[in-house]
C-alpha cells in the first residue's frame, strides 16, 4: 500500500507539473498495485489472476495512450492522411484499445476466471464461519 501512496504522489505530481501523459502511465502502475492487492487470499497474491484479464487490459491502455498521442502529435494542426473507420487515427486508437476491446476483454475475462476469483467452496466456507454450519449453501440456494 505504501507503493500505491508513492504512485499517487508521482501521478498527481507529474500531472500537476504539466506531464499529464506520464501521469497516465503512472496510473497504470497504480492500477496494477490495486489489482495485486485485490487478489490477496489469506495473505497470498494470485498473480495468474492479475495477469489475466487485468494486466492484458493495462497493456492495451498503454498502447492506446502511446498510439493516441503519437497520431495526435503527428497530425497536430493539419488533417490526417488516413482515417480508421472514419475516425481520426489518434482517436481510433482510443476507441479500439481503450474502450471496445478492453471492455469486452475485462467483462468476459472476469466471467472466465470466476472460479479462480471466488469458488463456490470458498464462499460457502466463508458463510459457514460467519453464520454457522446451517447456512453454508446460502449463495447457491438463493441463486
Amino acid at each position: 500500500m505504501s507503493i500505491s501512496g508513492l504512485l499517487w504522489l508521482a501521478m498527481v505530481g507529474l500531472a500537476g507539473s504539466g506531464h499529464w501523459l506520464a501521469g497516465l502511465y503512472t496510473l497504470l502502475g497504480l492500477l496494477l498495485v490495486y489489482g495485486v492487492l485485490g487478489t490477496s487470499h489469506k495473505g497470498r497474491f494470485d498473480l495468474r489472476l492479475v495477469a489475466f484479464p487485468s494486466l492484458v487490459w493495462l497493456a492495451m491502455w498503454a498502447g492506446a495512450f502511446w498510439l493516441g498521442n503519437h497520431y495526435a502529435e503527428l497530425y497536430s494542426g493539419r488533417e490526417p492522411e488516413f482515417t480508421v473507420f472514419g475516425f481520426h487515427p489518434s482517436f481510433a486508437a482510443i476507441v479500439v484499445l481503450f474502450w471496445i476491446v478492453p471492455t469486452l476483454l475485462m467483462g468476459f475475462g472476469f466471467e472466465a476466471v470466476k472460479d479462480r476469483w471466488l469458488s463456490q467452496e470458498r464462499w460457502d466456507e466463508f458463510l459457514r464461519h460467519v453464520h454457522g454450519p446451517d447456512e453454508g449453501n446460502d449463495g447457491e440456494d438463493q441463486s
Partner: protein, 501 residues
C-alpha cells in the same frame, strides 16, 4: 415543432415518470423491514443490479452533459465515458470483499460498512456523512439542471417550477419504497436509456453517413465558420491535456468506490454473480457511450453544415433530437428524464440514509428503526429542495457539476472502502486524518472555484488539473501516511476473513 408533437413528447417523458412511480408503489410491498428500505436486502439478480448501476452511474451527466462537451470541446470527455473496463476492475478488486462484509452484520448503508471495517469509528462516519452530503448535493444539482434544460427546450417553462414538479414525483416514489423501489425503478430507467441509445446510434449513421463525414465537416471551412475546432476530433480533444488525465483517472479509480456501485454490490444475492453483473453493466454502459458519442458527433455534423444552431452545449442533445424528428424525440427526451431520475433517486436515498442513520450514529445517537424511515423521508424531501436551490445558484454546466460530484464522492469513499478493504494496516485514526484532510481540501477547492467564478480570485490549479484530483490525492496519501504512523486496530476475525476472501 408543432404543438401536438410537443405534447406527445411530454406524454412520453411523463410516462417514464409515471411508470417509475408505479414501480415504486408496487415495490412498497417488498419493503418488509427498515433495513430493506435502506438497502439491506440481498435479493436482486445481476441483470437488475447491472442495469440499475449503469443508470445510476450514467445519470443526466452522461446523456446531457457529455454530448454537450463533445460538441463544444470534442473527444476529451469521451475518455471519461469510455473507461468502462475500470468498472469490471472495480468489481474484480473489491466486489467480493464488499459483498462479504454485507454478510457479517446489518449493512444497509455505506456508514454501516465503514462501522464494520473501522470498529464503529464515529469520526470516520461523521466526515464520510458530511462529504457524501456535499457530493449528493452536487450530483443532484446536475440532475435538476438537466431536467430543467429538457423542458426549457420543449416549452420554455420556468426552470424552478419544472424542477419542483419532477422532484416532487421523484421524492414521492423514493420515500414510499426506499432502496428496493430505487433499484427496480433504476433498472427500468436503465432499460429506457439503452433503448434510446440503440435508436440514436442507428439514427446517427442514417443522418451523417458515419464518422468520416463528421471529421470532414469539422475540418472544412464550414466547421471553422461554425466556431468548431478540428483538434476536437483527436484522441485528447481540444481541451488541455490535464483534462484528458483527469477524465481518465477520475472514472478509473473513482468508479470502484462510487456509492452507486458499492451499495448495489451489497444488494446482489450471490457474489459469484458479480462477473455476470459486470457484463450487463459494461455492455449497457457501452451502448450509452455509443449514444453520447453519436449525439455529440451528430451535433458537430449538423452545426458544421449549418443545419442547426446550438447556443449552449447542454442543449446539443435536444437540438439533435429535434432535427432527427418525432421518433428520436419520443425516445431521447424520456431517456434524459430516466437518466436524471435514476441517479436522483439513488442520491436522495443516500441522503436519507446519511441523515437518519449515519449522522446520528456518528454522534452516538441511535434512532428507532421505524422512526429512521420517517426521518429519512423528511431528509430526502429537504435534500431535493436543497438541490434545486444549489442548481439555481451555481448555474454550471451539467457535465461540470457531475464531475465535481463524482470527484467529491470518490475522495470521501476511496480511503475507507478501497484502502480500508485492501489493506489491514489502514487504521481508524489514519483514515480519519485522511478524511479530515479531504474534507478541508474539498471545502477549499469549492471556495476557490466559487471565488474564481465570481472574479474574486484568479488562482490556477497546478498544471491546469481539476481541483478534485488533488482532493482525492490528499485523501489517499494522508490516509496511508497517517496509518503507517499510527498503531493498527484489532479487527473482528469475520472482517479479516471478508478482506482475505
Amino acid at each position: 415543432m408543432s404543438e401536438w408533437e410537443r405534447y406527445l413528447i411530454l406524454a412520453s417523458s411523463f410516462s417514464v415518470l409515471l411508470i417509475s412511480f408505479g414501480i415504486g408503489l408496487w415495490a412498497k410491498k417488498k419493503v418488509t423491514s427498515p433495513e430493506a428500505f435502506f438497502g439491506g436486502a440481498k435479493i436482486f439478480g445481476p441483470l437488475t443490479v447491472g442495469l440499475a448501476t449503469m443508470a445510476a452511474v450514467g445519470s443526466a451527466f452522461a446523456v446531457v452533459g457529455v454530448p454537450g462537451l463533445v460538441y463544444s470541446t470534442g473527444n476529451t470527455i469521451l475518455l471519461f465515458m469510455f473507461a468502462a473496463p475500470a468498472f469490471v476492475f472495480g468489481y474484480l478488486v473489491i466486489g467480493k470483499k464488499v459483498r462479504a462484509m454485507a454478510e457479517i452484520g446489518t449493512v444497509a448503508s455505506l456508514g454501516d460498512l465503514a462501522d464494520l471495517r473501522f470498529n464503529g469509528h464515529r469520526g470516520i462516519k461523521l466526515v464520510l456523512s458530511l462529504m457524501m452530503f456535499i457530493g449528493c448535493a452536487m450530483y443532484l444539482s446536475a440532475q435538476v439542471e438537466a431536467c430543467a434544460k429538457l423542458f426549457e427546450n420543449l416549452f420554455d417553462w420556468n426552470k424552478l417550477i419544472i424542477s419542483v414538479v419532477i422532484f416532487a414525483i421523484l421524492i414521492a416514489y423514493t420515500v414510499i419504497s426506499g432502496e428496493i423501489g430505487g433499484i427496480l425503478t433504476q433498472a427500468f430507467q436503465g432499460f429506457v436509456i439503452v433503448l434510446a441509445g440503440l435508436i440514436f446510434t442507428v439514427a446517427f449513421f442514417v443522418v451523417t453517413g458515419g464518422f468520416g463525414p463528421v471529421l470532414e465537416a469539422i475540418s472544412g471551412s464550414q466547421g471553422a465558420a461554425a466556431g468548431l475546432d478540428p483538434s476536437a476530433m483527436t484522441a485528447w480533444g481540444s481541451l488541455p491535456g490535464a483534462y484528458s488525465f483527469a477524465w481518465i483517472m477520475l472514472p478509473t479509480l473513482g468508479v470502484m468506490c462510487q456509492p452507486q456501485v458499492l451499495t448495489r454490490i451489497m444488494m446482489l444475492r450471490d457474489p459469484r454473480e458479480l462477473p455476470k453483473l459486470s457484463i450487463y453493466a459494461v455492455s449497457t454502459n457501452m451502448i450509452t457511450g455509443m449514444m453520447v458519442m453519436a449525439i455529440g458527433y451528430c451535433a458537430i455534423y449538423l452545426a458544421a453544415n449549418g443545419l442547426v444552431e446550438i447556443d449552449h452545449p447542454d442543449k446539443a442533445v435536444f437540438k439533435v433530437a429535434d432535427y432527427l424528428g418525432l421518433v428520436a424525440q419520443l425516445f431521447v427526451y424520456p431517456a434524459v428524464l430516466a437518466a436524471a431520475l435514476s441517479t436522483s433517486s439513488l442520491f436522495l436515498s443516500l441522503a436519507g440514509n446519511i441523515v437518519s442513520r449515519d449522522l446520528p450514529g456518528s454522534f452516538g445517537v441511535t434512532i428507532d428503526p421505524v422512526r429512521q424511515v420517517t426521518v429519512s423521508r423528511i431528509a430526502m424531501s429537504v435534500m431535493g429542495v436543497a438541490a434545486i436551490g444549489f442548481a439555481a445558484a451555481s448555474g454550471d454546466m451539467v457535465a461540470i457539476l457531475g464531475t465535481y460530484g463524482f470527484g467529491t464522492l470518490a475522495a470521501a469513499t476511496f480511503p475507507i472502502f478501497i484502502i480500508g478493504l485492501l489493506w489491514k494496516g489502514a487504521t481508524g485514526r489514519g483514515v480519519m486524518t485522511g478524511m479530515l484532510a479531504a474534507l478541508l481540501a474539498t471545502v477549499g477547492g469549492i471556495t476557490i472555484e466559487l471565488l474564481n467564478k465570481f472574479g474574486l480570485s484568479d488562482f490556477a490549479w497546478p498544471g491546469g488539473v481539476p481541483w478534485y484530483v488533488f482532493v482525492m490525492a490528499v485523501a489517499v496519501v494522508v490516509s496511508i501516511a497517517a496509518s503507517l504512523l499510527t498503531t493498527g486496530d484489532a479487527l473482528d476475525h469475520r472482517v479479516e476473513m471478508a478482506m482475505e476472501l
